[in-house]
């Protein structure tokens, strides 16, 4: 009842000690199409559902590379997500330039969180309406973080954000205990399963989702559609055949950073 009085400005507290504008921003994240992330000790996988505004439009890009060793998946206002990705890329480049070593993921997410926090404490700004799943590899292993519009960040073994992410989270909750020792192929399969859960009945095809991976000896890159389709087919048959997939997946992962979307016949992603 009293929400309306205290929700105009981000700098206005409610009597219950809440900042409604920030909470509304987190709602925007829940409205975006789903994104999932999971990690083992050595690899981290990000997946996203490609939702297009209409059949005529191309889908919005939700996975961005920040550096060789870090990438993000976004959910919510994709424009805000693009801007933050640009910020992340800049921070990574600046750190590499000064210290000649990759920016540790934990530091990157702190810088991102601090940037988000600023927008919760200025009356002339609004919070970023995007949640980011940051997946990266550094000296301490593979990591997955979730950055909120509120400026909070949390580390996860596995997580899902966006619309119908609860189904994915339920699936991940059942499985995450073993993820530390999972192979990269099993991680990818589980990511696809988690994405499938968010589709709630719709058939999962490589067109509908994007998957990226980063890990030891593997720079962050988006896995090409053909390999993804092979994983999906194998999942449906539920016979596995991980060796075949490993061979098929090895050449793309050995290649450099070009995203799979460049190679496929999809329309050009709208990226800066």
């Amino acid at each position: 009842m009293f929400r309306n009085q205290y929700d105009t400005d981000v700098t206005t507290w409610s009597p219950a000690g809440r900042l409604f504008q920030v909470e509304y921003a987190m709602e925007a994240v829940k409205q975006g199409s789903a994104a999932v992330g999971l990690r083992s000790k050595t690899h981290a996988v990000l997946g996203a559902v490609n939702k297009a505004a209409s059949d005529l439009a191309s889908h919005q890009r939700k996975l961005f590379r920040a550096d060789q060793h870090v990438g993000v998946a976004i959910a919510g206002l994709t424009a805000d997500g693009r801007v933050l990705s640009r910020f992340l890329r800049n921070e990574c480049i600046n750190h590499s330039f000064v210290y000649e070593s990759p920016l540790p993921v934990s530091r990157l997410v702190v810088q991102l969180a601090d940037k988000a926090q600023v927008c919760t404490q200025r009356s002339w700004k609004r919070p970023f309406g995007v949640g980011l799943l940051v997946a990266g590899l550094d000296e301490t292993g593979a990591h997955l973080y979730y950055n909120c519009p509120s400026g909070n960040y949390f580390e996860y073994q596995a997580f899902a954000i966006g619309s119908r992410s609860q189904a994915a989270k339920t699936f991940l909750e059942r499985r995450f205990q073993e993820y530390d020792t999972y192979s990269r192929e099993d991680l990818i399969k589980d990511a696809l399963f988690a994405i499938k859960e968010t589709l709630q009945g719709e058939k999962l095809t490589a067109q509908l989702c994007t998957v990226a991976i980063v890990g030891e000896g593997e720079a962050f890159h988006i896995i090409d559609q053909q390999t993804i389709q092979e994983y999906i087919d194998a999942m449906e048959l539920s016979t596995g055949g991980p060796d075949e997939e490993a061979d098929a997946a090895a050449p793309p992962s050995a290649e450099a950073q070009e995203g799979g979307e460049g190679a496929s016949s999809e329309p050009a992603p709208m990226d800066i």
């Binding site: 590379r65 640009r86 890329r89 800049n90 480049i93 590499s96 330039f97 450099a256 950073q257 070009e258 995203g259 460049g262 990226d271 800066i272």
Partner: protein, 221 residues
């Protein structure tokens, strides 16, 4: 040599050469780092692989060269993020020129030769002065041994005059192995007379299949 208190440069010597072929490019530089009459190291690379098809060789002040290479590498990463592809050699050529001119009033003490393949897969060499004036040529030498090497390259590679119309291709019809042999010969000769050139020669060849590196021992005196 008496140094002024405010002289901020140092010449670390060395020579760089690049030759453009029909479908390849050879970029080579010696690996000696010197100061005055002393050798600091015999094993220092002056060559930087900037992109898939772009290689930069610079001689002069090693501090500025390192900074310049880092700068360009960072700019290339930014370009890749924005355009989802690698920079072409002509694009990097322009970027290098702009980067050098940016410091027109406190220049990078770096004499550069940029080599690679252009958008059509043909060999591409750009030669620079310290403040960014550049030109696409068929071959070039920069650094302490350049005045010894350039006349020999002119003699062997017979580049047509850039004043001719219609413009003639400056790339050499030599094969890759012939060009590499020529580079080895000119460096061996330059090493004889230039005290700052010697120790080891690093040769980088860029062609459609990628970047290949080889080394040749030079005289150590």
């Amino acid at each position: 040599m008496a140094l002024r208190g405010d002289w901020m440069y140092e010449n670390n010597g060395g020579t760089c050469v690049a030759i453009a072929g029909i479908d390849y490019c050879v970029v080579a530089a010696d690996t000696r780092l010197s100061v005055g009459y002393n050798i600091l190291t015999r094993d220092h690379s002056k060559i930087c692989s900037l992109a898939d098809k772009v290689v930069l060789a610079s001689s002069g002040f090693q501090g500025d060269i390192r900074a310049l290479h880092k700068n360009l590498a960072a700019r290339h990463l930014l370009y890749q993020h924005q355009h989802n592809k690698q920079m072409s050699c002509p694009a990097m050529g322009q970027l290098l020129s702009n980067t050098l001119y940016y410091k027109r009033f406190f220049p990078y003490y770096a004499f550069n030769v940029l080599g690679g393949l252009d958008n059509e897969g043909k060999g591409c060499v750009f030669t620079y002065d310290a403040v960014g004036s550049y030109e696409r040529v068929g071959y070039s030498a920069q650094g302490s041994g350049s005045s010894l090497i350039m006349p020999v390259l002119d003699n062997q590679l017979k580049s047509p005059s850039p004043l001719l119309l219609p413009a003639r291709d400056a790339v050499t019809p030599l094969s890759e192995t012939e060009a590499v042999d020529l580079v080895k010969d000119v460096f061996a000769s330059a090493t004889e007379r230039d005290i700052y050139t010697g120790d080891k020669l690093e040769i980088v060849v860029i062609n459609a299949s990628g970047i290949k590196r080889e080394y040749l021992e030079l005289r150590k005196d």
